[in-house]
Symmetry: C2
Subunit: 1023 residues, 2 copies
């Protein structure tokens, strides 16, 4: 049936139908607005739609696979039924958060429905809240991903509806980060931020002190200039008690106000309402309280809720003791602001989160480490691919980075990257990333084909895509490099550097022959090193290629070829590998077995300034020395596991109810620590060469460790291969590595907030309340995205990670990282599945094996930040390698072999990085620069930095540029103009706060962007 026919037919009858909400016998008065002098109960209708959790995103959207769920969900129903429910009464309001779902729905709607919804948005009945594609996690997410996914949602909302979300709405995330508050809050222009989960001890105290609502200053560098009004709900994000749920399958007593029917209950229900309101008012400042009227996937039939809320508003206001109204968090925020109340200040963050004595939500910092790594790789790849897409020019019909953008946005969800979804959902996230990658890979290949073409102007359109890439390089699988070069073929490697700095780094690729030589793009043969590809790696490689690609590799490489590449900023260099008559520099190999005759001497490893010294007796690390910095520190490194509690013993929590708390995807609940000892004969192999030394340690049958020391680097790179974690003893295990020193760290250590700010942590201590320590390990765990460090009076020891992990310092002088987890029990937080990841080849499944890296460096006190920040960027943005073969042709003479997107003479300052360089749909560019240092973090670099845009965009002319809010959905000036000013308690203290440093306006003639410490500036640029 055509839409027109349908519409004509319905014209007469429909107009009136949606007045159905008003029944004949009673007209509900829902017009109430804020009433000064009364207790105002802001009813905020909402649904919390997880972007994947027990079901996949699409399953939640379409309502499929409901058999998995206790509470089946169909987001399409929510949005479908919402619109008529809002139309039926203009006083009704609703907020919607998850743009990933909203966009799915939106693209199905006819224009007329879209227009209707636009009116609902314009009138304020439907308000977009948070506005990102998902409600991102705050622990395991990287700030660049948080910005990207928020931008994606915010720009869609701006384009379709011309509105700007005003409120942060992180209601379900399991702890709350400083970066969320100041960066994804204040810096996107939010007036407030609300959330449901804070530590149960913290909550109890805040209720008591009426300090659930605060002014949160999450940034040390920005202080009040990036503060936000923040509210923790009295209990999650649900109605105030079990008796105010109105889903069609709800169990709450409805308001029965028809005297002609049984069970008339208006007086009781009004009393319930008033009594709940008063009890919330007793823990809340001002005469405004908010009721979050919704829950996970509620409003499947929206009318069911609105009908009851209509009744409550009507009857409660007739009663008159309190004033009930339809509201939104924006209206609530404005009401709070209008009271002129002073609010307590909150600094730092809300980690870790515990909802009960033994329920610390710190396991998820590490859960699904392979997924977490994959997200980080894709995040970095996406950043680079957008740059290359920008250089080439976006193609309307060709491949693009949108699907990867979407997949990355969705996987930031707080049950996605967190590792707290069901397995099949995690698989779906991975599949999305993989699909997105495949598309982006083409963009990259096209762009490089174009940029390497010697006919760049015409070439980009007709260029043949010849580049292959190696996403499985981490498992030694790279078909384009595993070619037989003896047949006069040469391997061309284009090495792209997404950073704004010139950069030198060692590249390692698998090759089939040791007789190879490497030339740079000038034709000069450069130093290279051959390392044997050990049997363990080959097995892992073949198994996982089979598991992931369904094929068995036809070629087995026997060596790693290592060489050092130097690449200009935002640019590439080309290297040529060809067969050589003589063997490349082959690594010296030395193997030590524990059971060999005891050796009292030590083994010193490292071709440069950094030496690691191992015990000849048992192959254990004993010392770290740096001849340049004169650091010398005893260091031990070991593996342990925590036995995951199986939840079989009942706890009686504060509520007096029995809990059976197992360790699981969310919860870390150790039941004992067990050092991992070697099983029998431990191999200890040292490979030495000119570029790097490698120490191979087979700890046991399921832990393998390679430590690399590069000649030109002053840190150790530690690569671990862990898995399958054995569980045949029926015990779930959570694997940690510990780095132990004799440093006097006095309970203190530092972890980053979403890879951005470092925050001081003190063991067994919380700034905001007197911590009752129930979980001495789990309760001291923090999320780590960039790194963790500790210091004493002389030195600082830093570990930088390649993905999100949990970590802590449980003992002075010691840091630990949780690297992998395999658990056999569900932790009762909803997924009803144990975190027991497996990899299957056909039907043969084994526990998941992961490969990962962390990097260890010890610096003299005060000198660690530079490495953490600079090398941190390199970890996030490794070289992007593209391979092609040349067969006869001379690549270097027929192609562009080196390139920089910037002026060849220019590099970014050491304290600045490019976060985004992206062509937008309208042809403009989106450009973000970030200062990498906090105030007082580094004596030289924590200063104002300047970037010369004319040199950054040396090949283009900037016509116009506009500074935007962080999510690029409004002008920065406009955003600042609208910002609400909040009063804080103890204003004298406030006066002491130094004025935060910020870069000034950009002079359009000079086009120099100044950045103060930690500043991120976002621009749209017209060329």
């Amino acid at each position: 049936m055509a839409v027109e026919a349908c519409c004509l037919r319905l014209l007469l009858v429909l107009v009136v139908f949606l007045c159905a909400a008003e029944s004949k016998y009673i007209q509900y008065n829902t017009t109430s607005r804020i009433v000064p002098g009364k207790l105002n109960v802001h009813l905020v209708p909402h649904t919390h739609d997880d972007v994947g959790w027990v079901k996949t995103v699409d399953q939640y959207y379409t309502g499929s696979n409901n058999s998995l769920l206790a509470a089946p969900a169909c987001v399409r129903n929510v949005l479908d039924s919402l619109v008529p429910a809002l139309l039926a009464d203009k006083n009704r309001k609703f907020i919607y958060a998850e743009q990933a779902f909203f966009q799915l729905w939106w693209r199905e709607q006819s224009e007329v429905i879209q227009d209707t919804v636009k009116q609902l948005v314009t009138s304020g009945q439907l308000e977009f809240i948070n506005g990102g594609m998902c409600m991102h996690d705050e622990a395991a997410t990287h700030y660049i991903d948080m910005i990207d996914q928020t931008t994606l949602g915010h720009r869609f909302i701006k384009q379709e509806f011309n509105v700007t979300p005003r409120v942060g709405w992180q209601i379900d995330t399991f702890g709350h980060s400083a970066v969320q508050a100041y960066l994804l809050g204040a810096e996107v222009g939010f007036d407030s931020l609300f959330f449901g989960r804070i530590d149960y001890q913290d909550r109890a105290k805040r209720k008591n002190e009426k300090s659930l609502e605060v002014v949160w200053r999450g940034s040390k560098s920005f202080g009040s200039s990036a503060q936000i009004f923040a509210g923790a709900f009295p209990s999650l994000y649900v109605p105030p008690s079990d008796s105010f749920y109105f889903e069609t399958d709800n169990l709450s007593p409805i308001v029965q106000d028809d005297m002609n029917l049984g069970d008339y209950n208006v007086p009781e229900r009004v009393n319930d309402f008033v009594s709940e309101a008063i009890s919330q008012a007793n823990i809340t400042r001002t005469n405004h309280i908010m009721w979050t009227m919704g829950n996970d996937f509620t409003y499947q039939y929206a009318n069911s809720w609105f009908r009851q809320m209509d009744k409550f508003i009507h009857h409660v206001n007739q009663d008159g003791r309190v004033n009930a109204l339809y509201s939104t968090p924006s209206i609530y925020t404005d009401a709070k602001h209008a009271t002129n109340e002073s609010w307590p200040i909150k600094s730092d963050d809300f980690f870790p989160y515990a909802n009960a004595v033994n329920a610390y939500w710190t396991g998820y910092f590490t859960s699904r480490p392979a997924l977490k790594r994959y997200v980080r790789m894709m995040s970095s790849y996406y950043l680079a691919a957008r740059q290359l897409e920008f250089f080439k020019g976006m193609s309307k019909s060709g491949p693009n980075t949108e699907f990867l953008a979407d997949a990355l946005a969705i996987v930031q969800h707080h049950d996605a990257i967190s590792g707290t979804s069901r397995q099949h959902v995690a698989d779906d996230y991975t599949k999305r990333l993989s699909k997105g990658y495949k598309e982006a890979e083409k963009v990259v290949a096209e762009s490089l084909s174009c940029l390497t073409s010697s006919r760049p102007n015409t070439g980009c359109k007709s260029v043949v895509m010849k580049f292959q890439q190696c996403p499985l390089l981490n498992i030694s699988y790279c078909p384009p490099s595993e070619v037989d070069l003896s047949k006069r073929k040469e391997l061309v490697i284009v090495v792209y550097n997404p950073l704004g700095w010139k950069r030198e780094d060692v590249i390692k690729i698998p090759v089939v022959s040791e007789n190879v030589t490497v030339k740079d793009f000038t034709g000069k043969e450069i130093e290279s090193q051959i390392l044997p590809l050990l049997n363990a790696s080959v097995g892992l490689r073949n198994d996982h290629v089979k598991a992931y690609l369904g094929i068995s590799p036809s070629v087995t490489p026997r060596y790693w070829l290592a060489f050092s590449a130097t690449v200009p900023p935002l640019g590439f260099s080309t290297y040529i590998v060809s067969s050589a008559t003589q063997t490349a520099n082959t690594s010296e190999r030395r193997t030590v077995y524990k059971t060999e005759t005891s050796q009292n001497d030590t083994i010193k490893v490292g071709p440069g300034n950094l030496k690691l010294i191992y015990s000849g007796h048992d192959g254990k690390l004993i010392q770290y020395t740096n001849s340049r910095s004169a650091v010398k520190e005893s260091v031990k490194q070991s593996f342990s596991y925590y036995r995951g509690d199986d939840g079989s013993v009942v706890d009686y929590g504060e509520d007096g109810n029995p809990h059976f708390q197992a360790s699981g995807a969310y919860i870390f609940r150790p039941n004992g620590t067990y050092p991992i000892k070697s099983e029998g004969q431990v191999s200890f192999t040292v490979l030495r060469g000119p570029l790097l030394d490698e120490v191979h340690q087979r700890i046991n049958s399921w832990i393998y460790q390679v430590t690399r020391i590069y000649r030109e680097k002053e840190h150790a790179e530690i690569e671990f291969t862990i898995g399958p974690i054995p569980v045949d003893d029926g015990i779930g295990k959570e694997i940690v590595t510990k780095i132990s020193t004799s440093m006097k760290t006095n309970k203190q250590f530092y972890t980053d907030s979403n890879g951005r700010d470092f925050i001081q942590r003190i063991r067994d201590y919380r700034k905001d309340w007197d911590l009752e320590v129930n979980q001495p390990v789990a309760g001291n765990y923090y999320p780590i995205n960039l790194g963790i460090y500790m210091k004493d009076n002389n030195t600082e020891l830093s570990l930088l990670v390649d993905r999100s992990v949990g970590g802590s310092s449980i003992v002075d002088g010691q840091l630990e990282l949780m690297l992998h987890r395999r658990l056999l029990d569900d932790d009762d937080k909803g997924i009803t599945e144990a975190l027991d990841e497996e990899v299957c080849i056909e039907d043969d499944c084994k526990g998941l094996t992961i490969i990962g890296k962390y990097h260890l460096r010890i610096d003299p006190l005060g000198e660690g930040a530079r490495w953490r920040r600079s090398f941190g960027q390199e970890i996030y943005s490794p070289f992007l390698l593209a391979f092609t073969e040349q067969d006869g042709d001379n690549w270097t003479s027929s192609h562009v072999t080196t390139f920089s997107g910037m002026d060849p003479s220019y590099v970014l300052p050491d304290n600045v990085a490019i976060l985004t360089l992206q062509e937008l749909e309208d042809g403009k560019a989106l450009f973000r620069l970030a200062h990498l240092y906090q105030i007082e973090e580094d004596k030289d670099l924590s200063v104002m930095a300047s970037v010369e845009l004319k040199k950054v965009f040396a090949h283009k002319k900037i016509k116009q540029m506009t500074e935007m809010s962080l999510s690029a959905n409004q002008g920065r000036l406009e955003m600042e103009r609208k910002r609400l000013v909040w009063n804080v308690e103890g204003s004298s203290e406030e006066e002491e706060e130094p004025k935060a440093l910020r870069g000034g306006p950009v002079d359009p003639t000079k086009l120099v962007v100044d950045l103060a410490p930690m500043e991120i500036r976002t621009f749209t640029i017209d060329f």
Copy 2:
């Protein structure tokens, strides 16, 4: 917000909204109609909304009290969400059955919505099915109540929508009665009748023989003239498999047809559909099959179902193997009819119903015996009250019988009168009846006040209501008769006879003094008898008055006063009770104790022709003799109990799945029979008097029995008081009384169908299939509303009951009635509550005690029908007693003391009864006459009878009268004209069928109505 404002605002935006069903990316083609030559799958969207079950009617309607339910329900949501779902696509259809809910909803709707719904009904998108207030039970219901409740619904539908339901839809009732098929089916003009529950053995055979669909001839008297096309569903009334449920909380796989989302499954789902269709086609005649797309309380959000059905219709028809269409049972019936197929004939009924080997749904025939009795009392009272309302003239503002009509209609529901609701729901039904009664009691009192007034024309308007009534007479509680008459007061008793015959009957009322005398309205003192009110009765009385009314009676009567009243048809007589100087005829009293010295002589009881002879040894009945008819039969009477199976032992049913089947509200599953022996000393007391003799037997501490033999009656009245059934042994008990004789009954006995036709039953035998006997007791139980009888070559023994009970003849020569049940386990049919009724005084609860009667008579063979039919009417319609006091005045001289609504010289023929005499809203009268005999039932009375309306309505002049269908929603002629003719198998057999006898058209001048055996004729009359 005013409706107009709302409508204006919505005008532009709304019109288009409901096209939402058609998403942008796919336009569903739902236009398909029947396609000849293809398998047509009729999708019939429906919801089954129990008019009370686990929740009360109002709770189901409003959605309150959901905490009780596994599947919460709100019928308001169903109807609210249905309308826009139908508007969204004119091809969508829906059927709605339960008018009790629909009317609740309807009265809440604005006119514009009402108009919209009217259009949906007119266009056929919304079809009313069944159309009664509820889907009445078919076992425990009386045909008069079935007619009344259907009429109530049908007339509403006719008035509001001008349509006539075409299809019977008894989808959930637990077995199906002959009366349902021919009377509430064919005689209301239905073209077909569908249901979900038939015996599992029967169903298996019918599937095999493609005979689930039949032509059902439920009436022996009418044969094919009252046949109906009837279909049993292949399995209940649900979609064809678990994978086609689409409630928002459903677990079925939705059709995912968006290629852009995950889990695209159109081919699989189309295959599922086609495969289910083909498997149903294999057990169905013709190329039409029906899928009942719904279940209990489904369509809470109707769009959720329609969305999926749209998709199925679209994709299945694109596939093309079968044709799927939106349909209704009417469309399906017409399609079946159009095929010209011949159908098997089905006669009699579908009782008893078993859904599994040990799951005979025959317990509910007796469950909640007090409720069943209360319904019967109210049914009778309603009939009488309507007559009295008619005589007085309906009052617009005053009390009326509508609430009682409504309450009675609702309680006919198949989980109401059946006794299969939860306790609190049963309480709600009772409360509704009680409220309805209170209102009707006023109508009766007003009418009698008016009719007894000597100034009838003016008096009726201003008359003072002085009459009191005694609804608790059964527990000896009657305050107006318990007055002290010694103070010159006199008690006036107006005795109303709702039957069309003159009638004499003994009245018994409690009095405080034995010194009373009774006069008739002529002032003549008449014979009376005083019987002592025994202690047992007084205790029962005081307890239950406290329990039911919350008061303790201030007076305790000590005697029963009995006298014989004679009352004209549809009229009343007045009796005056006053104090007398001498004692009335006091009953002689003789008590026998079992433990007394053994007596070999017998005790003969009975003041008239009938004598019962008891053993002097143990007080047991041994013989029945009637000196007039010369019947003499050895008779024993005893009590037993069946131990209710507790379901603790697993059965493996045909499906191979484990079942734990307890005896419960629905199911009768005996686990052993136990005779109830006397506990110690049994009292046996005989009271003798001129009017009646009473034999009192205290069987044990919880069974008391009084047998009454009236001088003028030739049956024994047996009153049992049973309860509290002891369950402290942890064993549920089902109490039966057995009447044993030496009759050679050859497995045969007869039970009535809804109090109307008698049907032959044969023990361990079914006419339709070879019965596999698994439950030799429960599987032979049948519902009894009027009576049960058995016969041999000489005599017939009949038992008539005062309410619905279950009964059987398990042994030749024996009949049994199940009188009371108290069970401790749930029988797993949904109520999740054991049938363990209690009566509470404040918090002191005891098992329910019931008082009831049955009547026993033995006649020479062929002579029993007359008593069963005539006395059956008297049981149904006892005298209605109204009391007032006269204090000084002379009532008889100042009031009308006798009255008949008919011509004083006229009475109805013995074989005709008035079923309905009621003033309608439009001032017309609704009048129903029923012939009481089946063909060949009585040699004299199974003949055409004539009723002279001029004499029936002697006081009024008939202007016009129209013969109507049974439910009075269409002219009888029109109904007959539209009736579909069906082909049946074996047409030669058919030719043998004698033409059914029917009364001819009524000559408007003579106004004589002829009635053939079993005929019921319905008229609307204009006076």
